[in-house]
Symmetry: C2
Subunit: 362 residues, 2 copies
């Protein structure tokens, strides 16, 4: 039997509990963060999860942080970090207090962490305290196109589990895979984490195309498809760059593998992200010619847009790498167009002339 403890009862942590609880071999404990008290109270009373807007199976044990025993953290076979980035500090301090070093630590949190004015940003694969991830066995990152509510409803969902220690990704896959939650594994956790964060950022620019070229009660589709493609090419290069500067390289043979940007964590996840959600909504506003400041003080006031945060953490290191030649500026017209909105509150402008300016023959 595997014992899984999920820290954070927001939408993604709670949704992951559903496939986890499908196997009778698993014991699943879903733990509310200090911000999740209402959720825990609701699920405890009626099994209804208010933000997922669905009912959780009875076999999931649901507890508040205060009710969680340290022993459960120390005994766990798998601990899932199921919070969004503002909750990371709570998780790490809770794990350290309990002296928990589970055989497998899985990460749902998506984001980049700026590493200084001129250094490449880090993914959480590197930014988490080493006491948590070493020697406990190597973190497993989770990427791919997954709207949490659809996962909780049992709708078909395809994702990637990545770890520098492939056996860990494989063990977690064996614990969580169901008939409809389908999991592929990969060794490149930094690439998967980079894609998970940066696809939100790049989605903003792709989604601007929905409103930049209106056409007969709808919009032109060629510009959307052209920038979707460009976003993946830039994502692959950014992923390569972050991996090259990561603290620990993947253990497996990277040269043999396809860049994860061209698989579920990149191409697949960008597809679902562009299709809806807050990053896409922001992009549509920018494509109408509104400045970022106008949008975040107006129609999207109070809404957290992950891609903007990711852009802020990316910017200084990215611009420095372009300036010092570590990256080739000409390869990143979409990244620059989005960053100019975030850094300088410029209007979004993507000039298609910046594409394919020279013989490419790729």
């Amino acid at each position: 039997m595997a014992k899984l403890v999920i820290l954070g009862a927001g939408v993604m942590g709670s949704a992951l509990a559903v496939p986890a609880a499908q196997s009778r071999d698993n014991q699943v404990i879903l733990v509310g963060s200090p911000l999740d008290d209402e959720i825990i109270a609701s699920v405890g009373a009626t099994r209804h999860h208010p933000t997922l807007n669905t009912t959780l199976p009875d076999s999931i044990e649901v507890v508040t942080e205060a009710a969680l025993n340290d022993a459960d953290l120390r005994d766990a076979d798998v601990i899932v970090i199921g919070v969004s980035s503002p909750g990371i500090d709570w998780v790490t301090s809770r794990l350290q207090t309990a002296a928990a070093q589970p055989p497998i630590l899985a990460l749902v949190t998506k984001g980049l962490v700026a590493a200084g004015a001129s250094a490449p940003p880090q993914t959480y694969a590197d930014a988490l305290p080493a006491t948590l991830t070493q020697p406990a066995g190597g973190l497993v990152g989770i990427g791919g196109p997954c709207i949490a509510r659809e996962l909780a409803l049992g709708l078909p969902t395809c994702v990637t589990f990545a770890s520098r220690q492939p056996a860990n990704a494989e063990r977690l896959r064996e614990s969580l895979q169901t008939d409809t939650y389908r999991i592929t594994t990969h060794h490149d956790i930094v690439g998967v984490e980079a894609c998970a964060a940066l696809k939100n950022f790049l989605c903003i620019g792709v989604s601007a195309m929905f409103s930049s070229y209106p056409l007969e009660q709808s919009h032109a589709k060629n510009p959307v498809a052209g920038l979707f493609n460009q976003a993946i090419l830039e994502l692959a290069l950014l992923s390569d760059w972050l991996r090259a500067h990561a603290v620990t390289q993947p253990v497996a043979d990277g040269a043999r593998s396809m860049n994860v940007a061209f698989d579920l964590a990149g191409m697949g996840d960008l597809h679902v992200t562009v299709g809806g959600g807050r990053n896409s909504r922001l992009g549509r506003h920018l494509g109408e010619g509104q400045a970022l400041s106008t949008v975040v003080n107006g129609p999207m006031q109070g809404v957290t847009v992950e891609g903007v945060d990711t852009g802020r953490h990316l910017s200084a290191g990215f611009r420095a790498a372009c300036a010092n030649g570590d990256l080739d500026s000409a390869s990143f017209p979409l990244t620059f167009a989005i960053l100019n909105c975030i850094d300088n509150d410029e209007l979004f402008e993507f000039d298609f002339q910046s594409l394919y300016t020279a013989t490419t023959n790729r």
Copy 2:
């Protein structure tokens, strides 16, 4: 000055004339096929193209086949095969009659040609008569996400020109690129042609996901994204397979290159194809549980669905390759699901359990 003759005044041939005519250095002659008389009459009288539903620039010369001089075909720097697959025979006989061997022959036509019960199908890069493509300099194939009307309206459009002789693709790019028609080049014409045809076929299965999993006045998005990703993975493998059996290999260094399925001709074009059009429409019907025969005799009676024709030309050779081990059946669940509808009129059924059945660690 470059003289371009476009054979076929349907939507794609006519749309290509627009960027071609934007440069004053080009002379552009658009030639109607025997089926295009009404179009030619309309454009001749008012410049209005009835199926593109837009006005063509005055600088494009528009003529019927009967009015075309053989000398114009023999003098052309570029001849564009601008017909859909049923027009290929007209084009080839017209070129042979005129003894035309232009420096550059470009191909808009998309489709596969069955090469026998157990042989892999061919792309037009191989199936066209060698007298046309050799020694005249090597065909240039055109792929990428391009709705013809949007191109004709000057909306931003990104495409790939591919030729076994990269200089030809580059020369054509120089003749046609505008501020908004952006062109990358590639040596892998077989891959680009394979993607151009097969993306229509695979689109049918991806689009079935729009109706297979309805959710609150819309549909679940995770299954669409999962199968979009799967379609590109299968497209890359099918493209590799067709290239391996092509008559002539690319001249450039293939090992260095990315598979074109992960670029405009595959990922980009599938994005726009899934977004609308006849292949996507058929897929949505299949996803509702209707048999192909029901759809083509009912709501889509009389509508040509290119992806179905492509599937018919693919099927025997593909199944033979799976049977003899040239291809690994387990890698093609989506291809099989669509072929079962086309070959056997089975209801569309995609079992997500067929994905990631073993340790992948790709």
